[in-house]
Amino acid sequence: MDNIAGTKSSLTWVVHISVALLVILWLLPTIGLFVSSFRTADQIATSGWWKALTASEQNLTLRSAAPDTQVETNGLFVIEGQLFDAAQEAEISAWGINSRAIDAFKPGDTADLRKGGTITVQTDGSYRMENTEAFAGKRGQRVFVVATVPPELTFENYRAMLFSDENATGMVKAFFNTLTVTIPATVIPILVAAFAAYALAWMDFPGRALLIAVIVGLLVVPLQLALIPLLKLHLNIGIGKGYLGIWLAHTGFGLPLAIYLLRNYMVGLPRDIIENARVDGATEYQIFTKIILPLSFPALASFAIFQFLWTWNDLLVAKVFLIDATGQTTVMTAQIVELLGTYGGNWEVLATAAFVSISVPLIVFFTMQRYLVRGLLAGSVK
């Protein structure tokens, strides 16, 4: 092992490549969701998101202008127009007028229509229908094309979610409701847990070890068990459904993990500092506020991130303790579920909503993430 300092192990590249691969694998679903949020519902239903990034050959069903746009010149009835939208640049390689033979004709060919007359379609999608009699009916002729279509992404989903009349007010209300839930539900458990963790780490009293064991044991109790009994309690003591109730519920559900994390961190602080302070005559409260709290900041921050993410993304607890039939206390998650529609098929909304909803936790995470790693490591490794 004489190369331990100085030269790099030749395995470094393997490590780098596998890390890169894992990261890509890990991010793939998120990227897919992100691309999908810029696509329309029909696009999502018909092709995969990876096809959205490059020009692709697609089969399309298009329709000519309706017969009421026809022009008569010298006894010849003509309908002219463009199959594609004005902004779309597509190239037709084959076309047809029967759903059984969608590529029967080449661009420039002329096809006989079943109800009389002819149609000619060019590569760029322009067409000309001719007939010696007037075209009848209310609708235009269906034209099937095989065309190479450039990638088409749209901001429509985001606009519909954030700025349209029907959704914007609901989303803004839900956003502030969520903040009203999240911030106290993050601050309260940290306050309580910091005191408890200090006591469990540095104060001697009988039954301390047992108390720690009980708290660790509470970590494995699923919160679903407590939903109905806790709601009944809230209603009996007059809290009812509302913000106070959900703050208490989130505090209760978050405390075991908070105490456990913070206690493990505080136990690892150097004993000498605390004993020195005791010798100098500091009270327990002074030790806690002047020494322990500043030193524990990374652990506090990392738990704050955890609790914030969990309360931000929570739907279950909010539905049980907060959202009542008045509809005034909807949170983001519930609002997003509502946007999905009665039968839950609006995928484009889901993809978009995920990224709208994720933006705040992302900001919180990136501003505090340096504490997250430090806090977690300091709590677990001695």
């Binding site: 059984r100 029907e166 509809g327 519930a334 999905l340 009665t342």
Partner: protein, 451 residues
């Protein structure tokens, strides 16, 4: 005499507008051929100034908006403060809220099984015999709607607890008329013709059906609708009723025959888009899109009246896509049976406003204002069919009003463990290749276990 009343409504609208965050009045008073007189009479008889009404329902997004618009008129004429909250997990949430003692005033149940369950725990308040009589008289096939809304309460007494509002028709086959024209097919009017058409399409080298059973945790339910529809087309309605209550066991040969009828469509490789393997895995919401692809992957799709919501954007019903009645056998004299479903409104927290709202639902206006919006059908005989949103909706409404036999979705009437459990999973197994007899035996076993 009418003019001042309209003016009164309009003035009220201006005053209360600020209080109403959601819901607007899509149609100005006096327009659209609606029965405005019934709204005025109702408003004159009910002053609910200062009262509050909370409503909890399964409708979200667009459908929720339609309902809120209807509630907005209720709020306008009575002065009551109202709110509507929709949830996709209503089944769980209403039970939690009722258990804990904080239910809303009114609930719309998506299916009677849940309402019956809530009734047996004593959470629903009686609607009274006069409401039952009203339904009998004013709904097409009224007494069957009363029966479907009558449940046993906590002490076992039968009582009328659920009022049907917003019905859907399930016996429909959707198709694209222009694709039929291209291929020269005619719309079948008998089951024999439908089967011949299926074979014809296969013979032409195409795929006749798009069938998708996927629906997350509820995967399999579209197949139960198939079996129920075929049950009504192979057996008289009395047998259907016995089947639903388990007076006739699930593994009776007549039920097995109906399951196999479904198999004749769905378990033949060439009959379904993607092959039989795709039946259980395709999501029911994506399934109809096969008809619209280029070239079409299939020609027909049997699904309830709500499915156009999942047609591609911009699809014009009646022109781009249309429906025909899922036909009955000509050889069997069973009339024109129709399978349907519907939402039930019940009182969970009694109040003056809740009672008034149930009265409001009896006015033709409440139905007509919903009819002017997409996705609503009513059996109310007093409502003006002219107000339906589209010709397609009107056609669906006609099927409902003209049905010789109307039967409710059987899986919704069966106990939850069967109708929303083993029946679903059993049909997925059947689509995957399990024999019909074995599937039926297993479902009957699970039913016995619940007794």
């Amino acid at each position: 005499m009418k003019r001042p009343l309209y003016a009164g409504v309009a003035a009220l609208a201006l005053m209360t507008n600020a209080a109403l965050a959601d819901g607007h009045l899509p149609i100005a008073p006096g327009e659209g051929g609606l029965n405005w007189a019934s709204l005025e009479a109702f408003g004159a008889a009910n002053n609910l100034e200062g009262e509050e009404l909370t409503f909890f329902g399964p409708w979200l997004a667009g459908e929720a908006q339609s309902f809120k618009d209807m509630m907005a008129y209720f709020g306008e004429v009575t002065g009551a403060k109202w709110s509507y909250v929709g949830s996709d997990s209503l089944e769980q949430q209403i039970v939690i809220d009722s258990e804990a003692g904080s239910p809303p005033n009114l609930v719309a149940f998506p299916q009677p099984g849940l309402a019956a369950n809530m009734a047996s725990r004593g959470f629903l308040k009686s609607l009274g015999s006069d409401t039952a009589d009203w339904v009998t008289e004013n709904y097409a096939a009224g007494s069957s709607w009363v029966d479907l809304g009558t449940y046993a309460d906590a002490s076992g007494n039968k009582d009328f607890l659920g009022f049907f509002f917003n019905v859907n028709v399930k016996s429909l086959v959707w198709y694209i008329p222009e694709n039929f024209e291209d291929a020269g097919y005619d719309v079948p009017t008998t089951m024999e013709e439908l089967k011949a058409l299926t074979d014809q399409i296969v013979a032409d080298g195409e795929t006749p059906w798009c069938i998708g059973l996927g629906s997350g945790g509820a995967t399999g339910w579209p197949a139960t609708d198939w079996v129920e529809d075929l049950m009504l087309r192979t057996q008289p309605p009395e047998v259907y009723d016995q089947w639903v209550t388990n007076d006739m066991p699930f593994n009776d040969p007549r039920v097995v025959a109906a399951i196999e009828e479904f198999g004749a469509f769905a378990r033949v490789e060439e009959n379904v888009a993607g092959g039989t393997g795709a039946v259980a895995t395709t999501d029911f919401r994506d399934s109809p899109k096969g008809m619209f692809s280029t070239p079409p992957q299939c020609y027909m799709h049997r699904q309830a009246s709500f499915i156009p919501a999942y047609f591609p954007e911009g699809t014009e019903l009646g022109a781009d896509a249309d429906f025909f009645y899922f036909p009955a056998y000509e050889s069997k004299d069973l009339g024109k049976p129709v399978l349907g479903g519907g939402t039930i409104i019940s009182i969970t927290d009694d109040s003056k406003a809740a009672r008034a709202f149930m009265e409001f639902l009896k006015t033709p206006f409440a139905h007509e204002i919903m009819m002017t919006q997409e996705g609503f059908l009513t059996p109310h005989k007093g409502a003006n069919p002219e107000t339906y949103f589209s010709d397609t909706q009107r056609g669906l409404g006609d099927i409902l009003l003209n049905a010789t036999t109307f039967r409710f979705d059987g899986s919704d009437l069966m106990p939850g463990g069967v109708g929303a459990g083993t029946f679903w999973t059993g049909m997925v197994d059947y689509a995957g290749g399990k024999p019909a007899q074995q599937v039926a035996d297993e479902i009957q076993d699970s039913w016995d276990a619940l007794k």
